[in-house]
């Protein structure tokens, strides 16, 4: 009987001991950076975490690879809407790949990165278009918002499929994440404008009950966040302007 007590005690000790010995430290270094074109960060869609724990959920991503280990899988790095990103990593040598399907020219040449402690990098890309000089005005007589912008051609031979204005109630706004959005057209190089109504009465269909409710809330809050997106023909993701906040006051 005594033996049993000793046995179980020693087993417990063993279990405790194993808690320290063979576990890894969490990754201690941070890699931060921006996706830039001519020194300016690029706006993209807000990444979202999905219900199964957030592996892939759209937005635009970069990927990191580290060779020399048995488990060779990519480390996805989601780009925030203002073009920044960050990843917690172990010290080591990584390769950073710019993944296809983004609003910039496909270039899968990898970038070598040596992570030693925290560091920051700029990842250069060549977008198909850039969205310049976005400005928004609220017209209180007919409750519309007009966004004016210029889409500038960067890569020759590409055409604009559509431009969009998205109205959101938080600063996380893009064409997926918004209260209302509207597509318009834009010719590269010339100023274009898109007008969208935020009057709930303009969305009468039974299927738009959610939009009506959200717009009423928005008008009550008396401000909204806006963004212009430009979608290149045949590319899934749009490139976005920076987020701007405007007042929706009637007085």
């Amino acid at each position: 009987m005594k033996l049993n007590i000793f046995l179980s005690l020693s087993l417990a000790l063993l279990l405790l001991a194993s808690c320290t010995k063979d576990n890894y430290d969490p990754p201690g270094s941070t890699l931060t950076g921006r996706v830039v074109y001519q020194g300016q960060p690029i706006g993209v869609r807000t990444p979202a975490v999905n219900n199964t724990g957030g592996s892939t959920t759209g937005g635009v991503q970069l990927e990191l690879w580290q060779r020399g280990y048995q488990l060779f899988t990519k480390i996805p790095v989601y780009i925030n809407q203002d073009g920044t990103f960050s990843a917690s990593l172990f010290d080591g040598d990584y390769k950073l790949v710019r993944l296809g399907g983004a609003p910039w020219q496909n270039n899968t040449d990898s970038i070598d990165i040596q992570v030693r402690g925290s560091m920051s990098i700029d990842v250069p890309v060549v977008p198909y278009f850039t969205v310049n000089t976005p400005s928004f005005t609220f017209n209180k007589t007919d409750t519309t918002i007009t966004g004016t912008f210029t889409a500038t051609q960067v890569v020759a031979g590409r055409t604009v499929e559509s431009a969009s204005i998205s109205v959101g109630s938080t600063q996380f706004v893009d064409i997926i994440n918004c209260v209302v959005s509207r597509n318009g057209s834009a010719a590269p190089g010339t100023p274009a404008s898109i007008t969208i109504s935020v009057n709930p009465a303009r969305y009468p269909a039974a299927s738009q009950d959610l939009i009506r409710k959200k717009l009423a809330e928005l008008l009550q809050k008396q401000y909204s966040y806006l963004r212009i997106g430009v979608k290149t023909n045949g590319v899934g993701e749009s490139i976005y302007s920076s987020v701007q906040k405007i007042d929706l006051k009637f007085q």
Partner: protein, 632 residues
């Protein structure tokens, strides 16, 4: 005594020696089945085949992954709230449709080689028959692989490792996407005459491959290939890889459409199958039976069968029966069809199927005498697919009513019950009239296992007594191929080849069965949109919608994730009873409200990277010759 011992010892020795016959160490084992025993016994080969048939994949079915029915725009999830993630798919994962079952391919290749090697007692006909069936299953698996992943390594022989330390001989690259479709086509041509499985009366088996099953696979696969060839190249920037692993040249479209049409035509003209018309008095029931009924149904071409007597059953009815008429005490109402699907069924006069809930100028509701009146004169397939408010199932009426609307002199006040089956009566409602408030089958905005969309699923749910209990379960079959689809395949291919008269004839035949007038579609009125809508309504919940949208390359527009896109959101229809004493034209009547399904959270979002599924990194690590799909 001594003598006795001598005899005994001698006797023992003798028996021992006797045991040392020649083959003592080479006897046939009693517990292990040997290769040449398996491959010379038709029953054992059939057992293996059954296993392989059982391993054919689906994206949705009646067992296994049937829950995926709730993930597109035809339905939503109304069951257990822990799975509400299905109503909140922010975007489809790139690996969502991934499939890489080379284990099954290897098993089939091994079986094919073993039949060649060991089968000596089988007749030539039997050998061809079994090899043909195995090759059919292999082609089917390759079709599933190519429609999800694009071109994959085409392995038709066992790959055997030589222990040299160098695995590169086993590492095969992906072939062109079109090569896989060509492989399926040529395999079907090669084996179709070998496949018998037709009984004495000339009735083909519908659970084992035969000539017509092979043709049906060819019809479907080549239609997919043709539409990828055509529509991929119509995109602003076609999805393709430099090696052709993904993307088919536009020049091949006509060839594929023609071959698909030939295969479809051969099935239609063979006379072996017929559209099910066993219940002409009730066309809605007739359509339900066409899919579900297992006896004297000449429409089914290839099914995954279940049989209660052999204890092969599934719980699809248990999980999807309407709450109010469920027979078990748990689980019901998981998959509930959307208003989007219901409205895609046209009116019998050919007009748009949008339900009329309000007067044209939006000034008032339209008042219906009973809940089912709003669905009057609709395509009969609607009734056969969906359990509508006011209809019945299993002989019991399914009570669907969201609440009451009470007139307070100037406007309606909407009252919904917190419980199912509640009456509008005191003490909760002091001026209540004692009549029904909320139906015993809902709909309800938040209670789980009751419809959230206002509809229930009828297709594939078993109408037999007790089949929705866990003790009995159901044995309705899952339809892989039926003649209805072949008509649609033929019509689509003919339309693309500009044979509009034929196309209209086949579409009209299906519509006529659903209650439309003869020749309701003519060569002048047929359009691609109409064919697409016919596919949606005829083949709802039969694992076609997502693949169809993919091959037409419109999935990223239909499900673009935007909150103001009505196609990407699941809508509901809530019926209310009117309380307005003194107004005989309105009091006691029913009105309907369309709304976004309350439990539905995120619009469906299908991205360009979803057209081909991501290949798992582990596969690429093992075989560096595998190239990734675009956007991944």
């Amino acid at each position: 005594m001594k003598t006795l011992y001598k005899f005994l010892i001698a006797g023992c020795l003798l028996t021992t020696i006797a045991g040392c016959k020649k083959n003592w160490l080479e006897r046939t084992p009693q517990t292990i089945i040997l290769e040449d025993q398996v491959w010379n016994d038709p029953k054992q080969i059939l057992g293996l085949l059954a296993n392989y048939y059982d391993r054919l994949p689906t994206d949705m079915g009646v067992d296994g992954n049937w829950r995926n029915m709730a993930d597109y725009d035809d339905a939503m999830w109304s069951g257990y709230t822990g799975e509400d993630g299905r109503n909140n798919i922010i975007s489809y994962a790139y690996s969502r449709w991934a499939y890489w079952d080379y284990t099954l391919i290897r098993d089939i290749n091994l079986a094919l080689e073993s039949i060649e090697k060991y089968s000596v007692k089988l007749t030539d006909v039997q050998k061809k028959q079994f090899s043909g069936e195995l090759r059919f299953i292999r082609a089917y698996v390759y079709f599933e692989l190519v429609k999800r992943m694009g071109g994959v390594p085409l392995v038709t022989k066992q790959l055997i490792y030589d222990f040299s330390g160098d695995p590169s001989s086993l590492q095969q690259p992906r072939v062109k996407e079109s090569d896989i479709y060509d492989f399926i086509s040529s395999e079907m041509d090669a084996i179709r005459e070998d496949l018998k499985n037709v009984d004495d009366k000339g009735t083909p088996s519908n659970s084992r491959a035969n000539k017509f099953t092979a043709l049906a696979l060819k019809s479907r696969a080549l239609l997919y290939a043709a539409s990828i060839a055509k529509y991929n190249n119509l995109m602003a920037s076609p999805i393709s890889l430099p090696g052709g692993e993904v993307g088919i040249p536009a020049s091949k479209a006509t060839e594929y459409y023609t071959k698909s049409l030939e295969a479809s035509k051969e099935i239609i003209t063979s006379g072996a199958f017929a559209l099910y018309k066993g219940n002409p008095a009730n066309l809605g029931e007739n359509f339900y039976e066409a899919v579900v009924r297992k006896s004297s149904n000449k429409e089914a071409i290839f099914v995954r069968d279940f049989l209660s007597a052999k204890n092969k059953r599934h719980a699809f009815s248990y999980d999807n029966i309407p709450l109010g008429i469920r027979e078990d005490n748990l689980s019901s109402s998981c998959i509930t069809p959307s208003l989007n699907l219901v409205e895609s069924y046209e009116y019998l006069d050919g007009s748009n199927g949008a339900l009329k809930t309000n007067l044209p100028d939006n000034s008032d509701f339209i008042y219906y005498n009973s809940p089912e009146d709003i669905f009057a004169n609709k395509d009969a397939r609607l009734y056969g697919t969906v359990i509508l408010p006011g209809t019945s199932f299993k002989g019991r009426s399914v009570q669907i009513q969201a609440g009451v609307m009470k007139w307070n002199g100037t406007a309606y006040q909407t009252i919904e019950g917190s419980q199912l089956g509640a009456t509008y009566s005191p003490p909760a409602f002091p001026d209540g009239d004692g009549k029904l408030l909320t139906g015993s089958s809902g709909p309800h905005r938040s209670i789980q296992e009751v419809t959230n969309s206002g509809f229930y699923l009828r297709k594939f749910v078993d109408a037999g007594a007790g089949t929705s209990t866990r003790g009995i379960l159901s044995d309705t079959w899952w339809v892989w191929f039926r003649l209805g689809e072949i008509y649609l395949n033929a019509a689509e291919a003919a339309f693309e080849l500009d044979q509009k008269v034929d196309a209209a004839t086949w579409i009209s035949a299906l519509r006529e069965r659903a209650g439309f007038a003869p020749n309701s579609v003519t060569s002048a009125t047929i359009t691609m949109d109409r064919i697409r809508n016919e596919r949606r309504v005829e083949l709802a919940f039969e694992d076609h919608r997502v693949w169809d949208l993919k091959r037409w390359r419109i999935a990223d527009q239909v499900w673009n994730g935007q909150p103001n896109n009505p196609n990407a959101t699941v809508y509901a229809l809530y019926p209310y009873r009117i309380i307005r004493p003194g107004d005989a034209a309105r009091d006691g009547k029913y009105v309907f409200v369309k709304l976004t399904a309350p439990r539905f959270r995120a619009p469906r979002f299908f991205q360009l990277g979803n057209y081909y599924s991501a290949i798992d990194q582990g596969i690429i690590n093992n075989n560096p010759k595998i190239v990734r799909n675009p956007f991944h």
